[in-house]
């Protein structure tokens, strides 16, 4: 490799890092916002699937099947064009948050449903036996325990979401991948830029995994016997 070209590349390194850094902020913001939407909606969907009302089960199941069997890129495009059609003009970021959130809700609802079901029936029955209604038992006994169990599933989801936000680059949302593409067309430093991009994604996903593991450990009660 040509030494002067290498030097030139390395000179631009701080600039690349700065631009990608800004992109990373957008990526993280997008991920967080979409996660909130997905968690709230996903929770509602999980309750619908667990409820004793057949119509509610059905609606939730249909939602799940549709969102899990269509690529998220397609969903984003449909949402974007669909909204314009109906007359709502959302900025691309907004449409992205909504799109990732709606898709994510389908995935998270399964995580929540599974974690609620692992809390054994005995817990709910013990709560009923001291006179709690189903709602109270859910709120005070089942959900607090289910939350802890759901952390690995939620972490996997958030890391997946982080990676999926790269697709928002197709809609010119200024997240990391989009910025990288712009940098490449600006400077033609393809290898260095994409290498940096990959490293930053890797670092972010490792950070999220680490953060989640620590939270899980702190939530777990004293282990000595």
């Amino acid at each position: 490799m040509d030494p002067s070209a290498l030097a030139k590349s390395l000179e631009m390194l701080p600039y690349f890092l700065k631009v990608l850094g800004f992109g990373a902020l957008t990526t993280l913001g997008l991920t967080f916002a979409a996660f909130v939407v997905a968690a709230v909606l996903g929770f509602v969907l999980a309750l619908m699937r667990l409820s004793r009302s057949k119509p509610l089960n059905w609606v939730a199941s249909i939602y799940l099947e549709i969102f899990r069997n269509v690529p998220i890129l397609t969903q984003l495009f449909i949402l974007y064009f669909g909204l314009t059609y109906v007359g709502i003009t959302l900025p691309a970021v907004g449409a992205a948050i909504l799109g990732f959130g709606l898709n994510g809700a389908a995935i998270l609802s399964e995580v929540f449903r599974a974690s609620i079901r692992t809390i054994n029936r005995g817990q709910a029955e013990a709560a009923y036996s001291i006179g709690m209604t189903r709602a109270k038992a859910m709120r005070l006994i089942v959900l607090p325990q289910a939350f802890k169990v759901a952390i690995p599933g939620m972490t996997n989801f958030v890391i997946g979401l982080l990676k999926d936000t790269s697709l928002a680059s197709a809609a010119a949302v200024p997240e990391m991948t989009f910025r990288a593409k712009m940098l490449v067309s600006e400077t033609y430093q393809t290898n260095l830029i994409y290498f940096l991009l990959a490293i930053i994604y890797l670092a972010l996903s490792l950070l999220i995994a680490y953060g989640a593991a620590r939270t899980e450990r702190r939530l777990n009660v004293v282990e000595e016997r």
Binding site: L73, F77, N191
Partner: protein, 216 residues
Amino acid sequence: MGYGELWEAAHEELLAAALATLQLAIGALLIGLVVGLLIALARLSGNRRLRGFALLYIEVFRGTPALVQLFIVYFSLTAIGIEFSSYKAAVVGLGLNAAAYFAEIYRAGLEAVPKGQVEAAKAIGMPRGQVLRFVLLPQAARIVLAPIGNVAISLLKDTSVASLIAAPDLMLRAQDLSAVYFMPLEIYVLVGALYFVMCYPLSLGVRLLERKSANH
């Protein structure tokens, strides 16, 4: 023009593109299954460098977006002289991506076979090779079927990302057709429906597999 007429006009192209998508997915799947096996063996091997490489591979491919991986395979490799068509780049890129997930599935499958099975086989004097062949692999194979199915479905959906490096798949065709017919929403809805028709039967199949393996 309504959906009906749009379908009349465009269905041949859409179906051809759907077929291309399926071929892309199958190609990537095969690469993933084979490379994944190699990575899994490296992961479990006694050689420290092989193990390290495998771990790095898995970490990198699972910790970075598929889109970025495709960029690197297509753009970066071209920059250092390896020429790929966008289609080939997509097959290779998505295949290498899937391999990381398959490697972990293979490993989990082998570890899920109860230790007692291996001990019982050894106790009747089976050499290690036979234990692998007759006891471990058959049982592990049943365990990994459903998770592999799930990754395959994700792979089919991920082929849509190939459109962003201009590989000829269903989503790319959708972009072209939107320009031709000026009905982007309707086109993408039809495309969504096509993906659904391709993926849903697979989902049902995987769920059936999951239920059957849960009964053992």
